[in-house]
Symmetry: C2
Subunit: 362 residues, 2 copies
């Protein structure tokens, strides 16, 4: 072939592979139609005659054209991206949710923009500003510390999906997990095994999840007709370190307990280490139950009984709700009910189930 036949002498090499140089205009020229028509075909905005459509499709394929989302964002006001405010990009808890969001959004042609809120309202507010300045089409907020009213306010500007709270506001959809029921289930499990002295490590009680889980624990005890022992409830903050500290505090306080329910798996892991250090065996000496059912629960020693928190589904649903909001629909999605995954860390108390036994040192 003769290369003088092509007009691009000093042009960069023709586009192939995404991000190439082909533009809408080039496609339009190649197909012999206007740019507007190509745009309409791409967006399904209007009915176009079959032959033009075929010509355009062919041109797109031949040029390896990939629309430029940046230009799209400027012109159309939509960027096909949604911001995701997580608390820490490397959180073992939210990780699964991020994956669910990424998968679901990706299928719809949207990209997630992940930012870390670092568990402070000020930081989260800054994240939301940054996201808005990037012109995201909507924002998914995973829990966080922002006030309901702040969230509702920004929902007036662009669609918001928020997890971990119960909240109704225009332009906003809230997705909540039944933490109360989960904690109730876990406590009930221990009660059914015969435990009567069940220690509880709280989460951060400023956090709705923390509050609800404590409530669930108490409700189960009450339903069983047991009196609450304040000495068995020790404060934690959802970190491994606080679970470890809680166990040491409990043991040192001398209050007998045959089971321990931690408000999340991370604290349960910390608690397990604390028990190990004090030579108490799980589950022979103390039954241990966590909450969240992290991936690591399966490989903890012994494998941890835990309330399954469907984080991946949470991410999927949050993304789906966002897509619906973006499409002008009203989401009606809901999370599955909590269920307990029983593994090897819980069993009936050693001696007489009714007779509490003080952990002893060996």
């Amino acid at each position: 072939m003769n290369d003088s036949s092509t007009g691009r002498r000093r042009g960069r090499k023709p586009a192939e592979g995404g991000g190439g140089k082909a533009t809408l205009e080039m496609v339009a020229a190649a197909a012999g139609v206007s740019a507007a028509t190509v745009s309409r075909i791409l967006n399904g905005t209007a009915i176009v005659s079959d032959d033009k459509r075929a010509a355009v499709d062919e041109a797109i394929a031949r040029l390896g054209y990939v629309p430029n989302p940046v230009a799209r964002g400027l012109a159309g006001g939509r960027t096909l991206s949604v911001g995701v405010v997580t608390q820490a990009i490397d959180s073992p808890f939210y990780g699964g949710a991020l994956r669910g969001i990424e998968d679901t959004l990706g299928q719809a042609g949207y990209s997630p923009l992940f930012v870390s809120g670092h568990w402070t309202a000020a930081h989260e507010a800054r994240c939301i500003e940054a996201l808005r300045s990037r012109r995201v089409d909507g924002i998914i907020v995973l829990t966080g510390r922002l006030s309901d009213s702040a969230l509702a306010a920004t929902a007036r500007e662009l669609p918001i999906v928020v997890t971990g709270r119960r909240l109704k506001a225009p332009g906003l959809y809230a997705l909540d997990f039944d933490n109360f029921e989960g904690a109730r289930l876990a406590t009930e499990h221990l009660l059914e095994l015969g435990h009567r002295h069940i220690a509880f490590v709280t989460g951060d009680l400023k956090h709705p999840d923390g509050k609800e889980r404590l409530r669930g624990y108490r409700a189960a005890l009450e339903a069983a007709g047991l009196k609450q022992e304040p000495a068995l409830v020790t404060p934690g903050d959802f970190t491994e370190a606080s679970g470890l500290a809680a166990v040491e505090w409990l043991i040192d306080s001398g209050t007998p307990f045959s089971a321990l329910f931690a408000s999340n798996d991370q604290m349960a892991f910390g608690a397990a280490l604390g028990l190990y250090r004090r030579q108490l065996h799980v589950p022979e000496d103390v039954s241990l139950v966590g909450f969240d059912d992290l991936a690591a629960a399966v490989y903890s020693i012994p494998p941890l009984t835990s309330v399954h928190h469907p984080v991946y589904e949470l991410g999927q649903l949050a993304a789906r709700a966002m897509l619906q909001l973006l499409a002008g629909e009203q989401p009606t999605l809901d999370l599955p009910a909590p269920r307990l995954v029983v593994r090897e860390s819980s069993q009936p108390p050693r001696r007489n189930p009714a007779a509490p036994r003080a952990p002893r040192r060996r």
Copy 2:
């Protein structure tokens, strides 16, 4: 004040809070200068007289102006965003690196765009396309399966920083951790404790990290004058499940060993569960050493001796290198040397250090 003095009658409410509606043009008008001047001040592109600068600063503050990165990207060709190809957004291993990248990039005004490559070259290639179509200014690739030549090729189009390999190419900077030395150190530690039968669980051997760690293990044995026992080397793939399977395989094969070195912590966790299931205690019966020093290593039972892999720093350095590449500089950064963190999972072998002991069932 009389509101007829302002021209915006039906306009949306004035911008306040990021992402507001103020535009460059509005700032220019308010400050009595041209848009070009405002742009120059914002970008530090040219020297501007003090009084104009003051007027502009004031107008920006008053209007709560936030530049629109989308428009910026279209006009200037830069989006102030860099793509990050990780393998799984919720990887316990890469999580720290993502945080390092986010922190470092954020300080420089850049935003990361995280995408998951799912450990396949095809997927990663698609990620890179998607990222390029989003017009990122550069791409950081965390390990991955892409061929060196594919990476070098895309580095001709935009700056690339890649971790986990040794590679030189124009527009590309590679950041590698000394996996060989790390594995050598870990094995040496076990040898110094007196172990002579050290089992090894490999990582994915198609992966450079996997290969290097095996090499380090072998080098240490050789340096100690020990003959290699092929039966002690069992294949794994970096997952917990493969660590568990490896231990079962090892025990069932009847080959005696007093220590086990897994090519990463996740496999060490799996191995720990396998030992627990077979009633073998760590470290009394078997010493266990991992690699990577994940956050979870501190809370595993017993706390795991592991080669520290500075992932957060890795992320920071990768981002820093990208920033330098973007500024037209040639990075010369390097990762810290590996070091071993000794915890409670390793100790001298039970009996005579020189006499191998077959794990027994109890």
